[in-house]
Each structure stands twice: as C-alpha cells, then as structure tokens.
Amino acid sequence: MTTSMHGGNIAIVGASETERVGVLPDVSMIHLHTDAARRALADAGIDIREVDGVATAGPNVIELADQLGIRPRWVDGTMIGGCSFMALVRHASAAIAAGAANVVLITHGESGRSRVGVPGYAPAPTSIAGQFEHPYGALAPYSSFTTPVLAFMKERGFTREDLAEVVVAQRQWAIPNERAQRRAQIDVEGVLNAPPIAYPFTRDMCCVVTDGGGALVVTSAERARDLPSAGRAVYVLGSGEGTGSVIVSQMDDLDSFGPFRNGSREAFETAGVAHADIDHLMFYDAFAHLPLYMLEDTGFVGKGESAAFIKEGHTRPGGKLPMNTQGGGLSYTHSGMYGMFAIQEAVRQLRGEAVVQVPDVRLSFVQGVGFMFGAGGSLILSNQPA
C-alpha cells in the first residue's frame, strides 16, 4: 500500500504499559520491554507472527526483536531521548503508509530507579557535553535541564509559585490513580518547602524516578478494522519532530524551543485540525517548567499566559483543557524516557479506558521533549479515522 501517513490511515491498535510501574528490582530493563510488548500485542489481538517492524530507543533493536523471536523486515532505533516514541510512531506511520512494514511494535522499558540489567552510564569527557557542561556540575537532568528556566521566568514575569502551581494541578489527577507514584494532596507552599534540588526547583517540581515500560502496536487503518481491537483503534492524524542543540546552553532562545513550535505546527497542519478542536493534552513534564514552555510554544495559549492558565485550573480535572491526566512525569511515573507513558495515557483517554477519564475525548495532542532541550516530537491522535 502507498497512502498518506497522516489523516487517520494509520492506527495504534495495541497499547499497554508494563504490568507494574514503580519500583521493580526484580525485572531487567530488557524484560520491561518484552513484558509491555506481549501485553500490547494481546491488547491488539494480533499474532506476533504478523509483526514485521520493530522499533525502540535505547537498547539494541536487534536484541529486542530477538528476545521476542521476531525477524523483522523494518527496524528503527532512533534515539532522541524521551520523545523518541513520538518520533517512532511517526516513523512507523510513514513506513506502513509506504508499504515498508505492515505491523510495527514500538517498545520502551527502563529500570530507571532500580538499575537492573542497565549498561553503566559513563559520560564521555570528549563529548561536547563532557567538555562544555559536565565539568560545571550539569551532569543530570535536574542540573542541566533547569539552567534556562530563570531567564524564561524573568522574561515572562513568572515566579516560583507559578512552577509550584503546575505540580499542584497535576497532582489532582494522580491522587485517585493507584498506579501513580506521588498521590498525597499538596499545595503551593508544600511544593516550595519540599527539599531543594536545584534552585529554583524543589523535589516536587522534579519528576519521580521509577521503573517501568510500555509498548504500542501500529498498523494500517485497513488492517485495524479486522482486528478484535477494531473499536478501540486510535488513529494518527498528524505529527511532527525536530532537534535543537546537543547542549542546553546553546538552545537558540532560552525562553522558547523551536522543536515545540515547529513540530506542533506541522502536526496541526498534517492533521488538518485546529487548537480549538483538541480535547486533551499530554505534555511531557520531566520538570515543572515544561508544561509552561509547551503551552505557549505549541500555541494553546499566548506568550506569557501559560502560568495563569494553569493557576486558573483549566488543566485540572473538570477544566476546559485537561492535561497530563494520569499525573504526568511529576506524579505518575518517569522511568527516564517518559514519552511512551504520555502516549499510553492519550490512547487510554481516547479509548475511554483511563483511570481518571475525561468525558468525550475525541482528539488528543501529545508533545514530547528529549535530551533536555535537545529534541521534540508531536502527535495528534484521535479515536475516529478523520
């Protein structure tokens, strides 16, 4: 087949997280992938022998396919950090539309907390980051991803209370969700008084660190119609992706990120829908500043309006634009490359199967980020083909 990769010709027919997320010292990284993969295939009601495309970010895609007994004719190991999975859905859609694959399995799994079966992490002192960022102590996301934020806040007139409001808003989604890591009610003062990590960030403004995974099965809308999961298919309407600088100090603007702006614009153009059509947002929130950048850069609010939008409650349960409805990386789970979990929650909402279900979700917008301000990936998903 050769058709458009967008507009609902391609569908996510299987989606599942690992059976458990949280602290899983009894599972190796690769078997978080295989657990999620087997569950996603069962969810789709598709035989693994039909899978001819395999994609993942992080582990060797050869091992992933081999562990599952797959000998694929199409593979993709694109690694652009936590938004790799948005990009992989986009790449799989292109491959299926072009006839290069029929059924693609996309997996994620990270033993981010327990570090079981994980290769050692030794940053190369010859890398650009190893020479120009790590020596200053920017060795972890909390100490590098946060460096531009005071400039952003000054430019917008935002305060630390505005960062805390993001955490409080998202916690409201996590409180009823038994799979969420942080479920205690909290207020702005509580967030500000949490242990300091990297000023202006306290612990609660930083994501949880967990183990877990997820997987997606992607195929043509035509094939989706004949599967047991037909009524639960989620269609890819539009997408975008892009990269910025490999080190955060070199981002083009400290208060705005090009891949958010450009990737989201392409997603809307390819989907042929407008912002007002979107019912639900998943904004990759490794840290509390990201939903603020994303709300503005993807055009859901104007420049400088994001903090008030969140403070006014529009993204909370009952709000007009529910965001990060399982609690997000800040409260639900964050294994390292969170993007897969953002897509999983969008799929659940579109299927009407979320723990805290938003009524009448038809269109979900998903925005990922990767390698700090290194990359972005955008998806517009729907429970209707067009």
Binding site: P125, A138, T147, A198, Y199, I247
Partner: protein, 136 residues
C-alpha cells in the same frame, strides 16, 4: 574547588583548552560572517565556511540564567552548592560556566549581572569560570 569531571579536548577543541591553560578565553570567529560562535568546531555553523579563526575575547559577560545545584553528586568531593550558569559573552556566544566568588544564593545572583572570566584548575585542564566584574 578543583575536583569534578575533567574535560578531555579533541583535535577540534584543543585551542580552546590551550587558551584556558594560558589564562585566555579563546572563541572562534567566522571571517565571512564576522561573527563569533560556540562550541568549537572546524567550520562556521551558519555558513559552513572553514575560514574561521581563534580569537582571544574580552572575558566580559552578562548573567543570563542559572540554577543552584544543591546535589553536585559523587563526581565532586565537595557537596557545597554549585552555581551552574549560562552567561552571554560580550562578543555574542552563550556558554555554561560556574559563578564563583559570590554566595550560592539567589540574592547574590541578579540576572543581568556583569561578570568577568577567571580560570580554575581541573585535573590537567583549566575551566573558565566567572565572577562579578569589579564595580558590578
């Protein structure tokens, strides 16, 4: 503080690190564009010309943004807070650095503060770090 991760130069970045060892901040400038750029590479990222030259810059900069890292981690023997800053050189490029010579407290770190470069030994290299300019 002299311990912590040690940068290892590559052939393309070596002149930068030779500069810091000599007490100079050296940045590349593209001749056709007449603009400085950072990080080091053997050509201009705007026009791809290899007609580029290393130049000693003023070492004057402005504080653009920062965080105070309260958890430097096992790479550092001292767990005193580190001010990880983004500074804008007067010549144009932005770079990451540490702010030294002031308390690691927001009150001592107003954005827009004028800064001047200094050099701290780190392993067999010297790191460019910044402190408030005299009179700032």
């Amino acid at each position: 503080m002299t311990d912590g991760p040690v940068p290892r130069p590559t052939p393309e970045t070596l002149p930068f690190w030779e500069g810091t060892a000599a007490g100079e901040l050296r940045i590349q400038r593209c001749t056709p564009c007449d603009e400085f750029y950072f990080y080091p590479r053997p050509f201009c990222p705007k026009c791809l010309s290899s007609d580029v030259a290393w130049e000693k810059v003023s070492g004057n900069a402005t504080l653009a943004s920062y965080n105070i890292n309260y958890r430097p981690g096992p790479a550092f023997s001292s767990q005193d807070p580190l001010v990880i800053a983004l500074v804008e050189l007067d010549e144009g490029p932005r770079m990451m650095t540490n702010i030294v010579g002031v308390p690691a407290e927001p009150e001592a770190l107003p954005l827009g503060m004028r800064l001047t470069v200094g050099f701290q030994p780190r392993g067999d290299q010297f790191l460019p770090v910044f402190s408030p300019a005299e009179g700032a």
